[in-house]
């Protein structure tokens, strides 16, 4: 009985590890590719690379105002620019744990580990709230 439980625990952890591994690798490789697109100038950036040093010693809100950038998810409308294209892979990296939790939550409830299942649901809601852009500072 104990061995069976240990094996199932192992399966659950291994599945979460597999999701995490694949998603993180995909995000990292995509980030390298999109960064190469950005610095090589294949896609014109929204903020020219040469202008970036003028902004990097300012606080983020001043940078947003000076460069005319909308905070939050505004970058989705600017994916044709080389710099904003990189936000896609960054969002993937910042979404790996959310994806992993969503993929395993059903398994916890199926194993009648309801308390931990609810912990996962609350955790996902908190991370989605953070990702939603409701909580942010600066900008216009």
């Amino acid at each position: 009985m104990e061995m069976d439980k240990a094996r199932k625990d192992d399966d659950l952890q291994l599945f979460y590890a597999w999701v995490m591994d694949r998603a993180a690798k995909a995000g990292f490789v995509l980030l390298l590719v999109t960064f190469a697109v950005y610095v090589s100038g294949v896609l014109e950036p929204y903020v020219p690379l040469a202008d970036v040093p003028r902004y990097w010693s300012q606080p983020a809100p001043s940078y947003l105002r000076a460069a005319g950038i909308q905070p939050g998810w505004g970058w989705l409308k600017e994916l044709h620019h080389g710099d904003f294209l990189n936000f896609g892979p960054i969002a993937i990296l910042a979404g790996v744990t959310i994806l992993g939790y969503v993929m395993v939550v059903g398994r916890f409830f199926r194993r009648r580990e309801n308390i931990l299942g609810w912990v996962i649901i609350v955790q996902v809601l908190i991370l989605l709230l953070a990702a939603s852009g409701i909580f942010k500072t600066g900008g216009h």
């Binding site: 625990d9 979460y16 003028r54 010693s57 998810w73 955790q123 908190i126 500072t137």
Partner: protein, 326 residues
């Protein structure tokens, strides 16, 4: 050629391509950026790629040292990059969070496979740290950089004190699990490959530990760090988890903490790609190089190298924040 060597070679080739294409692009458009910079009246001291290369070098060194010292690297990264390079702390903290997150995501699957990271143990802890991280990030982005620098200085000096004083226990003796941990099913067993024995574990003082995790999250969000060192201390010293389980589970908690904080920084516009990407690449290459150095250095010497560096970074951060050493 082994698989890992092949990956390293590919990464190096890609890095060279990346830098070459960036430099070529800059030379092609140099007159344009020079004119724009001059028109703006705030001419940068050097073009972006020079600073990105310097950042890459710094991150590489931080990656080596942090791996040798058994730290995630976020604390060293923020204090050293924020203390010595011209980037505002908002961008440094966001880059640091993404560096720590990428590192934890890379390490997490392996730790889970070897049973050293425990998914269940990380869940309630991660819930508390992620709530704290959101609060910390929201406060941190509103505070002046000088206040953050001074607080960071004190934090690092506190870490040095803990590193000198704290005595970790490989296998803490937890005879009775507390009711909350029993209710949540926070117990397990792992195969210790060093001894070949299966180590069963359970934990204690869960309510106190959860409050401490909330505080750790606030610190992580405020300073843009992973705070893995603090997770390990609470898991091992307060809850009584075996050291290997504490170290492994800490990485899973960092994934949750830094995901929450990173989204706040991302949505607040604190992302500068020329800071973020070289930092991630530099830290990853540094970690790979660090593994090779690790096998050749004595552990005691490593510990003092890291403590010395932290002491220097902490004093630097404190003096920079106070305007004494700019």
């Amino acid at each position: 050629m082994t698989r890992s060597r092949r990956y390293r070679l590919l990464a190096t080739v890609f890095l060279i391509f990346l830098l070459t294409s960036g430099i070529l692009n800059i030379f092609a458009t140099a007159p344009l950026w020079a004119a724009e910079a001059s028109a703006a009246g705030a001419a940068p001291s050097a073009p972006w790629w020079v600073w990105s290369l310097i950042l890459l070098g710094f991150s590489f060194l931080v990656g080596i040292v942090s791996l040798l010292g058994g730290m995630g690297g976020g604390t060293l990264f923020v204090s050293i990059i924020g203390g010595f390079l011209p980037f505002h702390l908002d961008f440094v903290r966001c880059a640091s969070l993404l560096v720590a997150l990428t590192g934890a995501l890379s390490a997490g699957p392996g730790l889970l496979r070897f049973g050293m990271g425990d998914l269940r143990l990380s869940m309630p802890a991660g819930l508390m740290t992620s709530v704290g991280a959101i609060l910390g990030a929201l406060v941190g982005l509103r505070l002046p950089a000088q206040v953050i620098q001074v607080s960071l200085g004190f934090l690092i000096l506190g870490i040095v004190f803990i590193m000198l004083k704290a005595k970790r226990t490989e296998y803490p003796d937890v005879r009775v699990a507390d009711p909350l941990s029993s209710f949540l099913g926070l117990r397990g067993a792992y195969l210790d490959r060093a001894t070949g024995e299966e180590v069963a574990w359970q934990v204690r003082r869960t309510p106190l530990a959860l409050l401490l995790f909330l505080a750790i999250g606030v610190v992580a969000g405020l300073f843009g760090i992973g705070a893995g060192w603090a997770n390990v201390a609470v898991l091992n010293l307060v809850m009584g988890a075996p050291l290997k389980v504490a170290v492994g589970t800490s990485k899973l908690i960092v994934c949750l903490t830094d995901t929450a904080a990173a989204w706040i920084y991302l949505n607040s516009g604190a992302v500068l790609l020329v800071v973020v990407v070289p930092s991630i690449i530099g830290m990853m290459l540094g970690s790979w190089a660090g593994v090779n150095i690790l096998v050749r250095l004595a552990p005691v010497r490593l510990r003092y190298i890291v403590i010395g560096l932290l002491l220097f970074a902490g004093i630097r951060s404190l003096l920079k924040g106070l305007g004494i050493w700019n």
